[in-house]
Subunit: 373 residues, 4 copies
């Protein structure tokens, strides 16, 4: 055996399949469909699943590219084989599919998922099922929710927090990249009452791949390279999703300040969180609580005092690195969290969730270390 990257004992529970469920393995792999495979998150699922022994990609859909070889759309995958051609979603033979990753654009997902046969387990990477309150959805996404019944069934897929519910879920709403980067460090601190709910300020920085692969002038190389900017100031759509999670953690409504920034890099995300500690709480208390909370988690790693995480430390990997620092203003702390927005912030966490749903060891297919430099 090479280097073991499984430094932590994952809770055994995660390896027990629900009673009613088939067991998938290298000899009997689950048949996986990826809907909307022509975008970056779809492609990232394909890349990661190329090394997954228990999942077999048998269906790829893409409406405008149907009929093409996948490597016509993503030429770097000319070296992968057994990748099916793209077809239209209406042409999928669902009898021969066990589970699906849904990588369709926001708002197009609801009706398609509502129409799927119920034996299909789904991880949805769009935002369509993340917000429990459909009126909040309507407010931020500009339209009535078209599958409110299905919404009630959806489980929010922040794996390390909602693992038990995910295990038996039929539909998991995979978290957004920003919400993942913010909730993993702050959820436990709010839940334990170690930080206050007011004046939580989150300054986030994201790579460009978060904007997707559609041709837009704002994301041309010439418009992005060698410069940075804030965007969606005070009104980014991930805001209600973050607040929903943090409010759950705190047990009371939390309203945060959240400002995303576009970085000249393809992948990577950092959230720098400025928080107030509760009375008599110290920086060490925060760090130690996070260490304890995540000590059995493979993909969340809390750094020792003084170490600063870089987004390049998680490029291409499913890890989340967290660090806690004293602020110069007494009583305040700075919590830094980095992920790869396409992996732990999207397709990696989606696979992690499906592993949990299908009773496969949670780390399967996800143990790649960061690509550096």
């Amino acid at each position: 055996m090479g280097l073991s990257c499984r430094k932590k004992t994952t809770s055994t529970a995660s390896q027990v399949a629900p009673a009613s469920q088939k067991t998938y393995s290298a000899t009997k792999p689950a048949r996986i469909a990826i809907l909307g495979a022509s975008g970056y998150t779809g492609e990232e699922c394909v890349r990661l699943l190329a090394q997954h022994p228990a999942f077999n990609v048998t269906v790829l859909t893409g409406e405008s590219q149907a009929g093409k070889a996948f490597s016509d759309v993503f030429p770097h995958l000319v070296t992968a084989t057994d990748v099916p051609n793209l077809i239209k979603v209406g042409d999928v033979d669902w009898d021969n599919v066990d589970a699906a990753f849904c990588c369709l654009p926001h708002a197009t997902t609801q009706e398609i998922l509502a129409s799927l046969p119920t034996h299909i387990r789904v991880v949805d990477l769009s935002a369509d099922f993340r917000l429990r309150d459909v009126s909040t959805y309507a407010e931020w996404y500009g339209g009535e929710h078209k599958a409110p019944e299905l919404q009630k069934e959806a489980v929010y897929g922040l794996t390390e927090v909602y693992r038990n519910d995910i295990r038996s879920a039929r539909l998991v709403a995979n978290p957004g990249c920003y919400p993942t980067s913010v909730q993993l460090p702050l959820y436990p601190l709010l839940e334990a009452g170690l930080i206050l709910t007011d004046d939580i300020i989150v300054d986030s920085k994201s790579g460009v791949s978060g904007a997707g692969r559609s041709a837009k002038q704002a994301f041309l190389y010439t418009e992005v390279a060698e410069g940075i900017n804030s965007y969606g100031v005070s009104k980014h759509r991930h805001m209600p999703e973050i607040e929903q999670g943090l409010s759950d953690a705190a047990g009371s409504e939390v309203r945060i300040s959240f400002t995303p920034h576009l970085m000249p890099m393809s992948r990577g995300m950092q959230s720098t969180c400025y928080v107030k500690m509760a009375n008599n709480v110290t920086i060490d208390d925060l760090r130690q609580h996070l260490v304890n909370r995540y000590k059995d988690e493979t993909f969340v790693h809390v750094l020792p005092e003084g170490q600063i995480p870089h987004t390049r430390h998680v490029r291409g990997s499913n890890y989340n690195l967290i660090a806690v620092f004293a602020d110069r203003i007494p009583g305040r702390a700075i919590v830094i969290s980095v992920i790869d927005n396409l992996v732990k912030g999207a397709s990696g966490q989606a696979i992690q969730n499906l592993n949990v749903m299908l009773g496969v060891p949670e780390e399967t297919g996800l143990m790649q270390q960061a690509l550096f430099p």
Copy 2:
């Protein structure tokens, strides 16, 4: 005449030379020395002065590179001529120098400047004379100040705030890049009591050129590209400089939260400032106050509601763009400020200051628009 970039009437005062002083012009240019010219700020002075009609670079010093042509050190300037060779600072003939830009490293500057003939007007780009309190200097820079008398004489060179004092100064301490980006938006707001002094949180992002040209592993292309990270968390040396200025503005001691981030770009700096408004103050009040404060300033521009500045909008130029936004948390505001760290954050502001000191129109040599893309 081409496009006029002087959209604002600069106060006439700035164009009147002090009584005792010579008048410099294209036909009788000031003779300029640049000390420590082999770093990026020295080179940037040379680049900008190549188009300055009233200043003539006659001396360049560089201890380890003395004897070389400047284009041996900066080959892109092979196309500039009349650039003197590098000499040692001990070999400068000060009788033929009118003014100097001092681009030496921190801590090496004090003794050299203390030894200069008193007819030399100096803009010092190091940190050595920025902090009025020499004990604060000793605390943050790790050594006793070696020219405390000269420190008393130094004027802090944030041009738009201290212009009157700069006009007659012999030694101007040019502000740091982070302090420039933070003070220009926040100084007027604190001075007018529109924002509170507590809980000022500044998340800053800088290009790599701020780290200088010395060979260090951490700033290799391979270590910087395609990723970001915080650094100097809670202990960056620009912190006391920012606090000194903001405390002056507020009339009481201000302690801020300040976290710098390293960006994969050569130039550019953004400070995203999270502040609390005073009672009954609105976002429009903040914006309008800044608009009024800077309406006659050429190099500070406050954007209208909704427009977001990019660092690439000021690349290579001496401008500072500022924008004000409502925060989602009631009572808070987000103030965004962008500069080019090597121009308004260093060499450009230094030239602006020397223009003021020598009675030359303040914009001279500084009207280049941003290089985009």
Copy 3:
């Protein structure tokens, strides 16, 4: 005066206006229209002209953006003033225009230029009038030429080669970026018979801005960063333009190998040219011939033996740097040429040409040194 960048005496001829022509100056500036100003070359004209004392931009056209402020389209120019709003080309009052830069897309230019009043001097940055042979145009650009009469009148605007014809031209066809980078070093060598016409192999590398500002997936940041690729192998449209020029120089038909490569950088272009020397010709002969040929030219600089030009040495400037090296294969030489594709490869050379056409000193507005780092 600051640093003099005019290291070379420009031939006096270039400063003499044609007899029939008005004299333009800072007090009586030429009124300039920029057609198609919403792309990068249009914008680059605006940036450079912002510092041109004898040209005044009075008209900007952009069909789809008509009615907007120019800074709505290029926000970094919010700091420039007296920039006119965009209008439709049909709304231009040509009586109040002296000259025009035409930055319209290929194939749209012919009819517009054919319809202009004859008092307008035009520099056309499109490819429409570069090829003398309209059948070659039709072959490479996919359509009949719509203004063949005007084509006969057009002068090819490689300034250093065709200056005399440019001076009296009404319409100058500004060269493409690749053709500029290749012809400046190779034209004189072929003309003097120092290199052979066969087996000329040109491997060129270009920044992304050459692809323009239209939203295309292939030029997204995520598709371009951190990787390179050849494109248009054996069939790039600049090939006939290069061959036309080199054939003129050689006095016989030249057919070259030309392969362009897309680089992850916004600006800059290098052509690495692999050539065979004529009998008994040495590397020094090549270099010395180029040195002599360009010794009075401000914008073409031949480096001494052993120095290697970088594209970053000319970023934002109008310079062309050339270097000559021995090849390891006996009898062969390597000639390297770098320019900024948007300046000497487009808008800078266009201004240089209009300066010549209007009798203004050729360097006017173009003496900015490279922006480095």
Copy 4:
């Protein structure tokens, strides 16, 4: 099983261990030492071996960093476990090591490898044993070879060409990145006499990681970003290595033109090769010969007509993509080859070689697809 990436049947020979040799597997892994692990190629071995089931990294050496945790040197590997601390090479217990990757700098390797116990199988990533002729070594590397006897034993590790010799080798000299990218496409074409030996011109482009991790001004982010340049024109050290291989293929001495270029990207390498076809040979002949030659090879892939490989299509992977194009000059062809310089150009090919040497399936640990975007 997920996607099968083994699209080709690897020759069964490669899976047969030499008779005299142990068999390694997941249950009985080989114990691997990495000498000089603190550079990028050492680190890349660690990254790739983290997923190798039959190799276990038990020793890491680094003279100046001895005593440190590996994640102190490469913080992104804080998420990998069972990674040994760095020790000095003199402290290695060779009795417990089966094989070594030697990632030491050129010229330091010879004496260390000559002193190793003979049971250790070694893949040397330095240049020290690549050149058969020690006088050529002395000429290009500036010093006498210190282990000429060992040199005679070394096998050149271009896996797809020398696999049979590699299988039984004790010391494999892993090819340089440029030589790998050039020889894989050109070796078969020369061997078959399809292209001529004269006038082979190779224009190569490399990412910055090829320069290593040592702090040098020339490789700072600010000196590399947003620009390109040739380097080592006519005198790069990889030239004799390429010529040695191509001469072997042709059966006569080959002298090439080779010019490397530094690209603003961390990883990736393209060689654009300009060649002359033999009489009556066509482009299709070239392509078809390469297709046939590599049809059973997993890591070399020849693209169909018209497809252009990008370096980003192989980022992080062990693949080599090759494409063949007609040149505009009759009788000439353009052959494009891309690899990741740190994987197929260094550590990936090294692992491929050790797999062959130790009788492990050749693709083990190397089936990661490219990371895109």
